[in-house]
């Protein structure tokens, strides 16, 4: 039995809206070892952000509703905590970095105070001591301490994201959730921020859940990968498992959709069609109508988990029917 920082079991979350019920998460299982990084990959509407917010219990309620499932964070059953206890967990045990650095900082509060706030809450320090500590953290993320007194609008996008990282790390959390932390940034700035995050992860021995739509970013930062589609994890495994021994047709489709920078002649093989309407998910496999390998059973029955090793599993009927099955082609070469 390994020591897990995070265990999510059979998590179902839905949103009850005026237009109907959106099944956002349909049975998510995630286990993450201490100090490891998991990449959560998927497209718009796959349920990545909802998963992340549910770990901090920040899914807006209403319209959000946890139908069933459990989340154990650092041994604490999240679902059973009071709001007051959650406040003590947020920022201390787990913290989160949001996607858009332009809007994630409070425009009317000085950045120094925004960092110091978390410190004074969780470490019960005086204002001066919190500010002094905030300055250290700010310098740790590569921003001169004399910018403590400035407001967010005086910072560039990349700098803002550094401030946000500083806030998240100010109380040395055991788990960091990063929701597309570099998507809004330019490539060269993205490289700087990713470099910083890798460095800090080592330094703090944190576990991390990295949400991204970019398999390139995941390859650079993560140990494990989970591919999400329509509120489910369709394939999960180590980086090698998922990148080299791809099992799920959707994962294959994602790889084949990315232009390969090292091979300009390579043809793109897009996934046809669109993601199913989340108000009205099909009764069988949600990927069924876009899948080149679809069988009759896929239309009617939900696939179950099929494991290939301790770490690598997929939810696809192909392997229950023919255990030796292997996907046609994966364009990307190693």
């Amino acid at each position: 039995m390994k020591d897990h920082i995070l265990e999510i079991k059979d998590l179902h979350i839905q949103f009850n809206t005026d237009e109907g019920v959106v099944q956002a998460l349909n049975g998510i299982d995630i286990t993450l070892e201490r100090g490891k990084t998991l990449g959560l990959v998927g497209e718009t509407g796959a349920g990545k952000t909802t998963t992340a917010l549910s770990i901090l219990r920040l899914v807006p309620r209403p319209p959000g509703e946890v139908v069933r499932g459990s989340i154990i964070l650092d041994g604490i059953p999240i679902m059973e905590q009071s709001e007051y206890e959650m406040e003590k967990i947020r920022g201390k045990t787990v913290s989160m970095i949001f996607q858009d650095p332009m809007t994630a900082l409070n425009p009317v509060i000085k950045v120094g105070e925004q960092i110091a706030e978390a410190i004074s809450i969780h470490q019960k320090l005086s204002k001066e001591k919190s500010l002094a500590k905030a300055r250290e953290v700010l310098e740790l993320v590569g921003i001169p301490g004399n910018r403590m007194q400035e407001y967010p609008h005086q910072f560039s996008g990349g700098m803002k994201q550094r401030v946000i990282i500083a806030i998240a790390l100010s109380c040395s959390p055991k788990l960091l959730i990063a929701d597309e932390p570099t998507t809004a940034l330019d490539v060269t700035i993205q490289a700087q921020v990713l470099e910083l995050m890798k460095e800090l992860k080592q330094k703090f021995h944190m576990a991390m859940v990295m949400i991204s739509h970019d398999l390139g970013v995941v390859a650079e930062v993560c140990d494990d990968v989970a591919i999400m589609y329509a509120g489910k994890i369709v394939e999960q495994g180590s980086l090698e498992d998922v990148f080299l021994r791809t099992k799920h047709p959707y994962t294959e489709g994602l790889f084949n959709s990315i232009p390969n920078i090292d091979d300009r002649k390579a043809e793109l093989i897009p996934i046809r069609g669109l993601m199913s309407d989340p108000y009205n998910l099909p009764s069988g496999c949600p990927f069924f109508d876009r899948c080149d390998y679809a069988m009759d059973i896929c239309r009617t029955e939900k696939p179950v988990k099929h494991s290939f090793s301790d770490t690598h599993f997929t939810e696809c009927h192909l392997y229950t029917a023919q255990p030796e099955f292997s996907l046609k082609s994966k364009k990307t070469k190693e």
Binding site: T17, D18, G45, A46, P278
Partner: protein, 298 residues
Amino acid sequence: MSTPTTTTYEKHTLNTKKKSQWLDVWKRLKKSRTAVIGLILILVFLMLALFAPFIADYEKDALGMNVKERLQSPSLTHWFGTDEFGRDIFARIVYGTRISLFVGIISVSIALSLGGTLGAIAGYYGGRIDNAIMRVLDVLLAIPTILLAITIVAALGASILNLMIAVGISNIPGFARVVRASVLSVKDQEYIESARAIGARDHTIILKHVLPNSMAPIVVFATLKVASAIMATSSLSFIGLGIQPPTPEWGNMLAGGRAYIRDHMYIVLSPGLAIVLTVLSLNLIGDGLRDALDPKLK
């Protein structure tokens, strides 16, 4: 990202005919209970205004003095009682509806056409023209709206026409600002650039793309402004600068009844309630329209 409200999914419907977007707005408006109450109320007032001659006789009931029946409390013959000259208050309120709605709508039309044009020109062309127009409007805005109206009526003299001109002019800067802001926000959209890219001229762009897309806030604002114009009309009449007695108008009815409130409070109750209900109904509709026209605000 994964919250459902931010993503639009294709509705799997077979569309064979173009649906009117105003129909959608109407459907959403119908869902708001408060907006429906407002609509019913305003409909009642419109009916009263329209069918006033069938409800009461203008000369006899609303104007005809009858000293014997003065200051009578509400009864079956005089639903809302009679005033100091023995005139039927209900009849006067019914005819007052005509004036209030008429002045409200006409003065807002004046403000909308003049202010709207100024705002649209300022917003679309920008630069120096915008600057010049906005500076002039700054001056108008520096005078509190109702005071500007009072000043204009005071100078021109009290009459229904001057009242409409005064209330209309004093609302010009407000409309100019709203239209300008709305045009500005639409002008920056890429579909305006896209229209230019396919060779559309300025007037096509303004008429076909800018105006239809900037209508929503303007419609809402105009509805709310009819409400405040009605309020302004009765305010001016109350201080003797609007509709002059004996012509029945809610504001001047209140002014006339003021002296009798100690013993006959009903005399000021019903004209005041008429104002509150009309203004309230328009405000309810305005709020409902705002939500219906901009579903993302919900």
